[in-house]
C-alpha cells in the first residue's frame, strides 16, 4: 500500500479542529476527571457539561438506570453555573490547551442570550453548543427544541449575542429532525449537533413504580445508535452547515458510520463511562481505517453513503 499523508483536521464553521473526536456534553464533566486517564489535549475538542447563568441542583435521585445496551439518565442539568466555570474550571482547560466548546442553556430567550453573551466575552472558549433539547426539564421547556418558531427565535437571539461559532444541539424527540436542522441553519447556527438523548422510562415490577425519581429520562448508549445515525442522515440531506454526529458511539467503526451518514465530526458520550480512554481508541481506530483504505482526508468519508 502506498503511504499517504493522513490529515484528521476538520473545520466546524470557523472552528478549526486537529481531529474529529470530541466529547458529548454531560459525560465528561469539565475535563479534569478524565485527565487522570489520558492526555485530554489529544481530543479534537472538549464539550463541557451544560451550563446555566445560575448553578442548578438538578433532579432528585435515583437519576440513572441501566437498560439493554444503554442507560437512562435524569440528571436534570445539574451544574456549577457559568461564573464558577469561568473562575474554577476554564483555567485548567486553557492550561491543557484543548479547544473548549461550552454547552449552555437558559429558561427563557433572554436568559439564553445573556448566557451566550457572557460566555462569548470570555477568553479561552472556542465555540458554544446551545442545548435546546434536554429531556430532563420541566414541562414547557421542550418547546425550544420542538416548536420550529420558538427554536428559530431563541437561536436568532443567541446569534445576535455572540460571534463565537454556534452549534445547536437538536432533540431527536421530534417528528421531522430535518426541518429542525434547517430551522437552526436559517436562524444562524454554524453547525448542528445530533442527537441528544431519546426520552424513555423504566419501571420496577416489584414496587410497581418508575425507576427514575423524575419518571422519564434520556436514553443514551449503543441502544440508540441506529436511530441517531438515521437522524444525522436526514440532517445532512436538509442542511449545508457541518454536523457533529453523536448517539451511542463506542468504536471507530461507529464514528465512521456517522461520517458516512454526513457528520463532519463526532462526539462520544456514554462510551466515556464504560472506558474513560475510549475517545483515544476511537481516534486511533479512525486513523488505522484511513490508512487501510488509503484515505488522506475525512472529506473523503463525509456523506459518502448518500
Amino acid at each position: 500500500m502506498k503511504k499517504k499523508t493522513i490529515t484528521l483536521k476538520v473545520n466546524i464553521g470557523k472552528l478549526k479542529l486537529k481531529n474529529p473526536v470530541m466529547t458529548a456534553s454531560g459525560t465528561f464533566g469539565y475535563g479534569r476527571e478524565y485527565a487522570e486517564f489520558f492526555d485530554i489535549s489529544r481530543l479534537g475538542a472538549v464539550v463541557v457539561k451544560g451550563l446555566s447563568l445560575k448553578p442548578r441542583q438538578g433532579n432528585q435521585p435515583p437519576r440513572i438506570v441501566e437498560t439493554a445496551s444503554g442507560m437512562l439518565n435524569s440528571i436534570g442539568l445539574q451544574n456549577i453555573g457559568i461564573d464558577s466555570f469561568i473562575e474554577n474550571e476554564l483555567p485548567f482547560l486553557k492550561k491543557v490547551k484543548v479547544p473548549v466548546i461550552v454547552n449552555f442553556f437558559g429558561d427563557s430567550i433572554p436568559e439564553y442570550a445573556e448566557a451566550a453573551a457572557k460566555l462569548g466575552a470570555t477568553k479561552g472558549i472556542h465555540a458554544l453548543e446551545m442545548n435546546i433539547s434536554c429531556p430532563n426539564k420541566q414541562a414547557g421547556w421542550s418547546i425550544f427544541g420542538t416548536d420550529p418558531r420558538v427554536t428559530s427565535k431563541v437561536i436568532m437571539a443567541v446569534r445576535k449575542a455572540t460571534s463565537l461559532p454556534l452549534i445547536v444541539k437538536l432533540s431527536p424527540n421530534v417528528t421531522d429532525i430535518g426541518l429542525m436542522a434547517k430551522t437552526a441553519e436559517d436562524a444562524g447556527a454554524d453547525a448542528i449537533s445530533a442527537i441528544n438523548t431519546l426520552t424513555g422510562m423504566a419501571i420496577d415490577i416489584r414496587s410497581r413504580k418508575p425507576k427514575l425519581a423524575n419518571i422519564i429520562g434520556g436514553l443514551s448508549g449503543p441502544a440508540i445508535k441506529p436511530v441517531a445515525l438515521k437522524m444525522v442522515w436526514e440532517c445532512y440531506k436538509s442542511v449545508k452547515i457541518p454536523i457533529i454526529g453523536m448517539g451511542g458511539i463506542t468504536t471507530a467503526e461507529d464514528a465512521i458510520e456517522f461520517m458516512l451518514a454526513g457528520a463532519s465530526a463526532v462526539a462520544v458520550g456514554t462510551g466515556n463511562f464504560i472506558n474513560p480512554a475510549i475517545t483515544m481508541e476511537i481516534l486511533e481506530g479512525i486513523t488505522s481505517f484511513m490508512e487501510e483504505e488509503g484515505i488522506s482526508s475525512l472529506k473523503q468519508l463525509k456523506g459518502e453513503a448518500h
Binding site: 487522570e36 441542583q57 435515583p62 440513572i64
Partner: protein
C-alpha cells in the same frame, strides 16, 4: 500534567485468580491486576466490567474487601444480571477495571474504633478492621456485625485470624443475639462505663441500618462515618448519577464518598 505512567494506572486489566462461592449467593472474587496499580485503602471501590460486550453496558461498583499480595478481593452477592455474569467467571478470565476510586474511612488514631457491619457491609468493614489491626499504635477495634441468619455471617475465620471477636446479631437468632445490631450497639454505648468522646464509629450496611445508626450517633454525639452504595455509571464524578442528599446539598457517592459523616447524610 501528570506523567502517562501515573495517568494510566487507574484503568487496568485484572486476571481472575479465584471466584469462590462462600454461601448461597455470596462470592469472593480475587483479582490480580496485570500492571502496578495505586495503593488501595479501606473505603475505596473499583468499577468492574463483567462483560466486554455492550450488554450489560456499564461497569459495576464494588467495594474493596481486602488487599492481597498480588491484588485485591471483592466480596459480592448475586443480585441481578451483572453479578450473575460475574459469578460465572473462572480463574484466568480477564476483566476491565477502574480504580481504586473514592475516599477512605478517616480512622481516628486517638479513638477507640467501633466498626458496624450489616449483611454484605462486612465487605469493606473487614478490610478496615484488618487495616486498623495492622496499624501500629492503634487499639484493637470493636466489631458489631448484623446478618439475616447465622449462615450469612461471613469472614469468621479471617476475623479470628486478626483476633477480632465480633458482637453478632441475626434476624432469626441463629447466631449471636436475636434482633437488630444497632440496638445491641446502643445497649453497649449506654452501658454507663463508656465515655462517648473516646469512640468513633465506621459503618457499612443496608440503608435502614445506617439510618438507625445515624439517629443513634446523632443522639449520643458520637462521631461516625458510613460507606454508602448507589447505582453509578462512571465512578469518577462526571455522570452525576449517584448523588445522595447531605446537609451540604447533593453529593456524588463516587467522588465525594463513598464514605460520608453520619451526621451529614440526609435520609
Amino acid at each position: 500534567m501528570r506523567s502517562w505512567k501515573y495517568v494510566l494506572s487507574k484503568l487496568f486489566k485484572a486476571v481472575v485468580t479465584e471466584n469462590k462461592r462462600l454461601i448461597k449467593d455470596h462470592y469472593l472474587l480475587t483479582l490480580s491486576p496485570l500492571k502496578k496499580i495505586k495503593k488501595n485503602r479501606p473505603g475505596n471501590f473499583f468499577m468492574i466490567s463483567v462483560e466486554s460486550g455492550l450488554d450489560p453496558l456499564l461497569k459495576r461498583p464494588f467495594s474493596l474487601h481486602r488487599s492481597t499480595k498480588n491484588g485485591f478481593q471483592i466480596l459480592y452477592r448475586v443480585v441481578g444480571k451483572g453479578t450473575t455474569i460475574l459469578s460465572n467467571k473462572t480463574p484466568g478470565d480477564i476483566l476491565d477495571v477502574i480504580g481504586p476510586l473514592g475516599n477512605t474511612f478517616p480512622v481516628n488514631n486517638k479513638h477507640r474504633n467501633i466498626l458496624v457491619a450489616g449483611g454484605l457491609g462486612i465487605a469493606p468493614i473487614f478490610g478496615l478492621a484488618d487495616s486498623i489491626v495492622n496499624s501500629p499504635g492503634l487499639e484493637q477495634p470493636l466489631l458489631f456485625y448484623g446478618a439475616r441468619t447465622g449462615k450469612e455471617v461471613l469472614c469468621k475465620k479471617n476475623l479470628a485470624d486478626i483476633s477480632i471477636r465480633p458482637v453478632i446479631a441475626t434476624d432469626d437468632g441463629t447466631a449471636g443475639k436475636k434482633g437488630n445490631i444497632v440496638k445491641v450497639l446502643e445497649k453497649f454505648l449506654k452501658s454507663g462505663s463508656i465515655n462517648v468522646n473516646e469512640y468513633s464509629i465506621y459503618a457499612c450496611g443496608p440503608k435502614p441500618m445506617l439510618k438507625a445508626l445515624s439517629a443513634l450517633t446523632n443522639k449520643l454525639g458520637i462521631k461516625g462515618y458510613a460507606a454508602l452504595e448507589q447505582s453509578m455509571a462512571c465512578g469518577i464524578g462526571t455522570c452525576l448519577g449517584c448523588v445522595v442528599h447531605t446537609t451540604r446539598g447533593l453529593k456524588c457517592v463516587c467522588k465525594e464518598g463513598p464514605v460520608f459523616p453520619l451526621n451529614e447524610i440526609v435520609w
